[in-house]
Point group: C2
Chain length 684, copies 2
């Protein structure tokens, strides 16, 4: 471009050399794409994006997602140059203990990193969520503004690699993005035709551009990573296209200009070697004897991004203030959400249920909670991966989120709607929820069958790693699903999900515990929560306790003597078995306590005194009962305890038959209690 100066050129070349050197210094990493993407990333951070390095959380900023997280230097070097607080020593500390420059970008660890990326596909798929969130937030705060005029208008930029493009999660999310006509989403696909197994021709021969056309995207091509002029024109055209997401297929040469390793897999994921780096420096006019050279004038030039960012911020602030003055109620809502506050009296809207042996399915209770909260919590929105009616994820009266043209006989869509329709795309749903939660202060949820949490697991793990407040409505949570059989019956899923550090798995034992679970999870803002809910009706129990649910576990029914001989610990649909078993045992004179344990993770957060009060160490006769594998329960059962579990796949039949045949009965729990007591007596 005409205004592309020698300093810009030197800045880009500096990035190339630093990328090679930083990897060489630590001895491992990914230099190649950071080198070849240098002009594109520099263009975005210095010329295209609206952002303010001094305020990485400015809500008016454009978002940048580096989907190819392995090329973290692509981002770190821009953050360094633009003035986000990273300095040359941080670049030198790449991939070392305690540094601000870990192997993959980590949100919350390094200022300016919008999202933790690395597992391929996740960044791009979450960016779709960000773009959706931007529209929904605009709808909440400034729906009447003309396009492009609102302080809530901005763009989401993504750089993605061959790996991102090959992953199925991006296929799902890209189809959704086209369907949703996300004109605020701009993707640069780094088409370098090299992955770890070298030339991608060995594994990839699809026409990716045509594939994106089939999704309804706006597709452009730019030849050459150095072709900044064409890239800028393409970016301008992408921004001008407001009805479709844009993909720019940017043909780059990985590792450019490394003389022997560029355009090979050797430039992808390993240090280039000192000799090669010397040659790179020579090619680019750097002193081959010196390391980590950053000319003062280059840095000063790039750091002007701060000034420009501040100016843009000031300009934006003016428009924001006008909006705030004109929209005091919406401003109050924004402030409340940004403050992670819930409105006074909100919890009074929660439904309650009277004890009732016939009861209600917890999925249905959850649906009633959502509808009850619809008005008081506008930040809450979500939907299902094509199981809305089964997951009970639709708030009564809520419009669907999408262009009006996608409306059907059953659903009315508008661009600011609230009900999400992910289609049969669980993985993209998980990633999109992450993007929504990262983008702003709304509270997204998404539903599917618990067994299909497997499909979204990589996204759930990232939510846990980033501590994002996404909520998963996982229904049909056991063999209680019934006739659909073993492919649809979760057996191992509660254990497998509890295994993820930081994720809370909540399996309420009845309708009131379900409402309490929603109350507790909405009161938190730094944790993904998965609700495990039943298909089948559960009795509404006496004695459930909202505070107890929030603490993860509590005494639902005390031994009549006040001094339990045995403690039965249960979750979800098996709570009723514990309650029924207690009656039998008490009638036999066995003092029996029932502990409801809807959330192991929240229980583990409680102090030892509370935990010991609920499950006294001295009472070693214990039974745990949950329609899943035993793995999570050994630590609660202890050596003398008994675990009522299922260690094999399920079967297709009505749920009553399955519970009986697979040993989830009152009698089985009673017998387990007797056995545990007997074991202790034998040992005594």
């Amino acid at each position: 471009p005409q205004d592309w100066t020698e300093l810009d050129k030197r800045a880009v070349d500096t990035i190339r050399v630093l990328a090679a050197e930083a990897v060489q210094k630590v001895g491992n990493g990914h230099p190649g794409t950071a080198m070849s993407l240098a002009p594109a990333a520099y263009t975005l951070f210095q010329r295209t994006m609206r952002h303010d390095p001094t305020d990485p959380n400015w809500i008016g900023r454009d978002r940048f997602v580096l989907s190819c997280g392995h090329s973290s230097l692509t981002l770190y070097l821009q953050l360094f140059l633009a003035g986000y607080g990273l300095e040359l020593d941080d670049i030198k500390a790449l991939r070392t203990w305690g540094s601000l420059t870990p192997g993959h970008p980590e949100h919350g660890h390094t200022a300016g990193v919008e999202i933790t990326t690395g597992p391929l596909g996740q960044g791009l798929a979450s960016a779709v969520g960000m773009a959706m969130a931007a529209r929904r937030e605009r709808g909440l705060f400034d729906p009447e503004a003309a396009p492009g005029t609102s302080p809530f208008d901005h763009f989401v930029y993504v750089i993605a690699s061959d790996g991102d493009i090959e992953e199925g999660v991006t296929s799902e999310a890209s189809s959704i993005a086209g369907h949703q006509r996300l004109g605020n989403l701009v993707l640069i696909y780094d088409d370098n035709k090299i992955s770890i197994e070298d030339d991608t021709a060995i594994a990839l021969s699809e026409d990716t551009a045509k594939r994106y056309e089939s999704y309804g995207w706006h597709v452009q091509h730019v030849e050459g990573g150095e072709n900044v002029e064409a890239l800028e024109a393409a970016l301008a055209a992408a921004k001008a296209e407001t009805e479709r997401p844009s993909i720019i297929v940017l043909r780059t040469v990985i590792g450019y200009p490394a003389p022997t390793k560029m355009n090979t897999g050797k430039a992808h994921g390993a240090a280039l070697g000192d000799a090669e780096i010397v040659e790179i420096k020579k090619v680019l006019g750097f002193d081959p004897e010196q390391s980590f050279q950053v000319a003062e004038e280059v840095l000063a030039h790039a750091r002007k991004a701060v000034e420009r960012g501040n100016a843009a911020h000031v300009e934006w602030q003016r428009s924001f203030d006008l909006w705030a003055n004109a929209n005091p109620e919406r401003k109050a809502l924004l402030d409340r959400l940004n403050g992670h506050e819930l409105p006074a009296g909100w919890a009074e809207k929660l439904p309650t249920w009277s004890p009732d042996p016939k009861g209600v399915a917890t999925r249905k209770a959850s649906g009633e909670v959502l509808s009850a909260l619809a008005e008081v919590l506008p930040e809450l929105w979500g939907g299902s991966a094509d199981l809305a009616e089964s997951n009970n994820t639709t708030m009564k009266g809520a419009d669907s989120f999408g262009p009006t043209e996608i409306s059907t006989a059953e659903w009315t869509a508008n661009p600011y709607g609230r009900t999400l329709h992910f289609g049969i795309r669980e993985h993209a749903m998980g990633s999109i929820l992450n993007g929504i939660a990262l983008h702003g202060p709304t509270r997204p949820y998404g539903g599917t069958f618990l067994v299909f949490s497997d499909y979204m697991r990589p996204a759930v793990r990232l939510a846990a790693l980033m501590k994002l407040p996404a909520t998963y409505v996982w229904t049909h949570d056991s063999i209680g699903l019934g006739e659909d059989g073993p492919t649809h019956q979760p057996i191992e899923h509660l254990a497998a999900l509890r295994a993820i550090p930081g994720l809370a798995v909540v399996r309420p034992g009845d309708a009131n515990e379900t409402a309490a679970a929603w109350k507790a999870l909405l009161s938190r803002h730094d944790q993904p929560v998965g609700l495990a809910l039943t298909r089948q009706n559960l009795p509404v129990q006496e004695g459930t306790d909202e505070q107890g649910v929030a603490r993860g576990g509590y005494v639902l029914a005390e031994a009549s003597s006040g001094e339990p001989q045995v403690v039965i610990i249960a979750t979800g649909s098996e709570l009723q078995l514990a309650v029924a078993a207690r009656k039998v045992l008490e009638a036999e004179g066995v003092a029996t306590r029932v502990v409801s344990m809807p959330c192991v993770e929240w229980f583990d957060e409680q102090d030892e005194a509370y935990r010991n009060q609920v499950i006294p160490p001295s009472v070693r006769a214990r039974v745990t009962v949950e329609a899943g594998i035993a793995q999570p329960w050994y630590r609660f059962a202890g050596d003398a305890g008994r675990i009522v579990s299922i260690e094999h796949f399920g079967a297709s039949a009505d749920y009553q038959t399955l519970f009986r045949e697979f040993g989830f009965t009152t009698e089985a729990v009673v017998e387990a209690a007797r056995s545990s007591i007997a074991a202790l007596e034998g040992n005594a």
Copy 2:
């Protein structure tokens, strides 16, 4: 078609009525697609496919995959009509305990069911694996035959729904299918534009046909589920196209001809109701008063599939016998593989390593095993999801599997090649391995980082459910991965994978245990096995035992006194810590046994006497050590035991720093042992 008789028409109409009635009888299920797909499925089973209902395992048969497993009646009714052994009572027993007609088709449970389907996308993705396996097997047994002339030539037919098409795993697999030019794969996409949330327009607006063109597929359209003539022409054209996989976009009306519910979501997943069924019977000319009517002449007509199948089988047998006579060595190989036998002396090819403190990474040992077995076990083949060099999955000298045109500077491909390149598509890899294992007697493996087992988890679960001998080479199995940081470091994965019923997770402690693990898993044929292998070098230990590995756990080092005070149980890279801790403890006079436990599942298979011999119940001072979460270890540690684990995400740094900072040190294990002993003394 001209030869489509009144009996064919009545057979198809019979299917429609039976589908509606079977669902009505049990009260739940999916009638709509079974009704609208009746002509297409009938055409496949009665007119298109080569199959023999009296020999469902005939290796010359065409394969049929019902990817939309929820429409199980589509398959069951064909199996009933064609004479696979299902009778009308089985249809009436749909979705009930013990029936041959569970909610979703279950391979190994009902004759003629090629694959368990239901989790959407898996069937189509596995069909790609079947089509690949067909070519690889042809290459093993009959590579010189002209196209279409070999007894090993046949087709793989798939019916897939909107849900299958939306799932990312099919995007991955379909891209691979186009890349691999699988001319033997024919997909009918049931484009009925209805899913559970009703009109798919709410969630799907991509141009799916164009998307499949972009993958390099041969795309055809057929309007109308009743349009058998056009469908047959399209099927013929699909078979004639031998260089590309074919998709036939078949526009159907779900639930046809249900008067009020067809073409709505109400026909998808619920019983239609008696009144509607009466109307259907009237429309189709059935007696509305009677149920489950199957005219004798209709059944007799359809059961002629047996005669035709037998005739086709006889004809094929002639060609097979000619082949067998001409190819005695290949025939012997086929017999060996079909008999699940390994060749005499094969295990002598396995490499061994001498004790060595510097050691070798277990991923590297695994790679050496594969290369060593390449010649003696031609059935073994596999590859990686773009991590070949990291996963060490390439056998030395093996060609790549694919059209010669996909060869690159690094890889030489031929259609019968052995090295698989999945691209960055872990999920499709998992599903494809399932398809390969289902198709025939070869032994497939696939590699990625252990952390990305999450991406393939739905496929792994189905492998476990179907008891398929797929092998997963999961390397970089802990924080030992190092600098790539928390997104790439498995923490919860060993626990989460062990949670899957039937899957064996094997984490060898050194190179010799790695070879033993391969030996043990190749000796089994009814279980998927995941190998968890290190990136970093591990010392080669004294005392490892091949038999011990096959039994899952064994005494690696006995207490010097022969009577252990404490037992340390370890896996993988932490085995060395147990060994080192034992030395320290023994020097302190603490009699210490080290148990190596590479596979908990195989250990659990052993009899109680063996298990108690390895971990004596009387020795309650115990330590477990594994660089993952504690969840799987409580049951081995017991109340007095101590667990050395990691309960949070990792970090980006060199692995030595991470092990030290996160408490995986000899001293930590020693201290845990002391603590466990002290706890017992305190209790005594």
